[in-house]
């Protein structure tokens, strides 16, 4: 087993915290790991990445070679494109769709998402919305670790242990917020994939999973939605335009 992950985002978005959680889980599991990060000038709002590798065998390079990246985890959608030429043909992308706009020529969102959704092994989550639901917009990084956690080689508890460790210093409340962010990300990511695996298009799956009450999301509800909406855009529109909150177990009401 060898897992090569590129963590992508913008300086200040907490990429290194993501790395901390995964590094420590890898250390606990007795894996070898290497994790290269960016310090210095680029941290001032520039594009930053971290190459994270773990394996039960030997690892040599700190940098992941092109074509060997198994997973891109991005806290920001544009940043995926900076590294997707590292992804192996069957590699995965787990990305936030919440843009971080600090440049004048940030691409227009619809086109960006359409381009990203051409990759088949994709998980898209609205980290901004989920982090807010968790109680703090700054917890977007933990949302995305949660969403990616299904693609890692650790149990939920093995990862959460280090979410706790990371925020312990800042008090119980912050720990709770970040745990919540993690599990909202995990549920939403799994739900999204459930929809796509059931045959829904990536963009529709994103729209639906962004509309539903995040607290209610669970992967088991995905098939009921696929069945209820049955590929019918009008039905999806009805859900999206429904006033007020829609719970994940309410698929039948829109069938």
């Amino acid at each position: 087993m060898e897992k090569n992950i590129i963590l992508a985002g913008v300086g200040g978005q907490g990429i290194l915290s993501i790395a901390y959680v995964i590094d420590n889980a890898a250390l606990d599991a007795g894996f070898n790991f290497r994790q290269a990060e960016v310090h210095g000038m680029a941290q001032r709002g520039g594009a930053v990445q971290s190459n994270l590798r773990y394996s039960d065998g030997e690892l040599h390079s700190d940098i992941i070679p092109q074509g060997l990246c198994d997973l891109i985890v991005a806290v920001e959608p544009l940043e995926v494109m900076r590294y997707w030429h590292y992804l192996r043909p069957d590699g995965w992308v787990v990305t936030s769709v919440t843009p971080y706009v600090n440049i004048p020529d940030y691409p227009e969102m619809e086109g960006l998402l359409a381009e990203l959704s051409t990759l088949p092994n994709m998980v898209m989550v609205d980290t901004g919305r989920l982090a807010k639901a968790a109680g703090n917009l700054r917890s977007q990084n933990m949302v995305i670790v949660g969403a990616a956690s299904n693609r890692l080689n650790f149990t939920e508890d093995q990862l959460l242990k280090h979410v706790d460790g990371l925020f312990a210093r800042k008090g119980e409340k912050i720990v709770a917020v970040n745990r919540r962010a993690f599990s909202l990300g995990r549920q939403t990511g799994a739900f999204y994939r459930g929809l796509v695996d059931g045959g829904m298009s990536a963009l529709n799956a994103l729209k639906l999973s962004t509309k539903l009450n995040p607290e209610s999301l669970a992967v088991k509800h995905a098939p009921t939605w696929v069945e209820a909406l049955d590929g019918d855009e009008a039905k999806l529109t009805a859900v999206l335009e429904h006033d007020g909150e829609v719970n994940a177990d309410a698929a039948s009401a829109f069938g």
């Binding site: 913008v10 300086g11 790395a19 590094d23 420590n24 250390l27 070898n32 790991f33 290497r34 994790q35 290269a36 990060e37 960016v38 310090h39 210095g40 000038m41 680029a42 941290q43 001032r44 709002g45 520039g46 594009a47 040599h60 390079s61 700190d62 940098i63 992941i64 070679p65 092109q66 074509g67 060997l68 544009l78 940043e79 494109m81 900076r82 997707w84 030429h85 590292y86 992804l87 192996r88 043909p89 069957d90 590699g91 600090n102 440049i103 020529d105 940030y106 691409p107 990759l119 092994n121």
Partner: protein, 524 residues
């Protein structure tokens, strides 16, 4: 024995602590900063290691040399360009030699992630005739610190450990050992060796050249210089380059490999290797030091040497596993996507609300009465003001160079001569050119951006900020009427522009101190 997650930098720091250092000396500089910070953090608890930032790398080097003189072990930390600043003390310390063990950890920045150049410090080790380790991973970074200190005491010489950014800023699990106790105070009595009068220096220099065969033999026998003879195609790697090679090799490959991580270059091992192979690829993350040495001036008879000088690898920039793959002639791996089209660049920028933004907005406006004015600048966050939207500064060369260059431009008749420099850079290298300018009353305007910290490298302590800075500026003998203090805030914009214009109109040296704390430093 325990296993810890450490950056390459931290592994060096912990290795030094466990080797029994009594002091760590440094000036912040990417990618070396985390070495000092790690030791500082660890030392805080027990308070048994001296850890206080130095004003610059030369000062750091000399303080360490003093500690070594007193018999204790000292670690010196800097980035590659910092060694230029420390070079005077560094070169001469090879002649004086050491008493307590002294190790210089210098972090080079191939690819210039956060630097003005990518000079290769191995040349400095060669130049000074001292041993140098170039660890290939975090574990070796930790391990060589013990060896480096032992070697330093055995040879009574400073020893260099060379890192590169990739290793400095990459984490891995590191097995650690027991701590060795610190040395006792045991000041050197060898007065002559420390007093480099020509008559003594000649003796010391002869001694240094006399022991070179010992250094060479150590490198020949070193476990860090590994020779693996197989097929007729050879790859010679230095430091971390070995990782990029192995990443691309199958288990049953047929390459002969020589991996070098201790210098001077072990000539005998290299000869053996070269004689065995027909063709030879040299991989090093830095300058083609090894490549040029192996090839020599007239090339190598019998074997073909390839590398950065022959186009198989780019002449400049950081080495990567992909570049090595190409140089080995292996096919590209398939990927899920091409690097197609233009992706919007996201360059670094000043933080929102940064005081520098207000200072430069005022300066831009104050200068708009001149035709295409250029501002000499320095090294720090404020160098980012060179980029849009501010585009307020037009040079960045060396620590403190803004003032000297502006003075030189003024000597030539350039008007307005303006230098912009941060408070910490001022203490590092700005005070002496400032003194020089004031003594000649050069028509020069110095804008000191006093944000109370070393912002770029992560808000370390600044040596000359606030009242200390004011006193230093006064102490240069400058007319006190032409020391102006402003607070760079949007609401003070008009006043600040006015003050700048007044000082620009003055014919002589003037200083404007723009004082407001870095917002990142306040957050801490």
């Amino acid at each position: 024995m325990s296993r810890e997650i450490l950056l390459g930098d931290e592994a060096v720091g912990l290795g030094a602590i466990h080797a029994g250092i009594s002091g760590v000396y440094a000036y912040p500089g990417t990618p070396s900063t985390e070495i000092f910070e790690f030791v500082e953090r660890k030392a805080k608890k027990k308070n048994d290691i001296h850890a206080f930032w130095s004003t610059n790398e030369k000062v750091a080097y000399e303080e360490a040399l003093g500690m070594s003189w007193a018999g204790k072990r000292a670690l010196i930390v800097m980035k590659h360009v910092g060694l230029n600043v420390a070079a005077d003390a560094f070169m001469n310390s090879a002649l004086t030699g050491t008493n307590g063990g002294m190790v210089l950890a210098v972090a080079d920045d191939p690819g210039m992630h956060s630097s003005q150049n990518e000079q290769d410090s191995r040349y400095f080790a060669q130049f000074a005739l001292i041993p140098c380790f170039e660890p290939k991973n975090q574990q070796e970074s930790y391990d060589v610190m013990h060896e480096a200190f032992e070697l330093s005491e055995e040879l009574a010489l400073p020893v260099m450990v060379r890192l590169v950014t990739r290793l400095a800023h990459s984490r891995a699990g590191v097995e650690t050992r027991e701590q060795r106790p610190q040395n006792l105070l045991r000041p050197s009595k060898e007065i002559k060796k420390w007093t480099l009068l020509p008559s003594n220096a000649r003796v010391q220099y002869s001694h240094l050249t006399d022991i070179q065969p010992t250094l060479l033999q150590l490198a020949e026998d070193s476990v860090h210089n590994e020779l693996e003879l197989r097929g007729k195609l050879g790859v010679l790697t230095c430091g971390i380059a070995e990782n990029y090679l192995r990443e691309n090799l199958e288990k049953d490959h047929d390459f002969s490999i020589l991996s070098i991580r201790q210098y001077p270059i072990p000539a005998e091992k290299v000869r053996k290797f070269v004689e065995h192979v027909d063709e030879l690829l040299i991989l090093e993350d830095g300058y083609p030091l090894m490549e040029n040495s192996v090839r020599g001036l007239f090339g190598l008879v019998g074997a073909k040497v390839r590398g950065r000088m022959t186009g198989e690898l780019p002449r400049t920039g950081e080495l990567t596993p992909d570049l090595v793959r190409e140089a080995l002639g292996l096919p590209k791996l398939e990927t899920a996507h091409d690097l197609s089209g233009e992706i919007a660049r996201r360059p670094p920028a000043l933080c929102k609300g940064c005081p520098h933004t207000d200072s430069f907005r005022a300066l831009n406006e104050a200068l708009n009465i001149f035709d295409d004015p250029q501002v000499f600048s320095d090294i720090g966050c404020y160098t980012l003001a060179a980029l849009p939207p501010l585009e307020a500064v037009h040079s960045c060369v060396a620590m403190g160079a803004s003032i000297g260059m502006a003075a030189g431009a003024a000597h030539a008749g350039y008007l307005p001569a303006v230098a912009a420099i941060g408070d910490s850079t001022f203490s590092h290298g700005g005070i002496t050119p400032m003194l020089s300018a004031v003594q000649q009353n050069v028509n020069l305007n110095v804008l000191i951006l006093d944000n109370d910290t070393v912002g770029m490298t992560g808000t370390q302590r600044s040596m000359s900020t606030g009242a200390t800075l004011d006193k230093i500026v006064h102490g240069t003998g400058i007319d006190p009427e032409h020391i102006r203090i402003i607070e760079p805030l949007p609401k003070n914009h008009e006043v600040n522009v006015k003050i700048m214009r007044e000082e620009l109109a003055y014919e002589g040296t003037s200083v404007i101190i723009a004082r407001r704390a870095c917002i990142e430093a306040i957050k801490r």
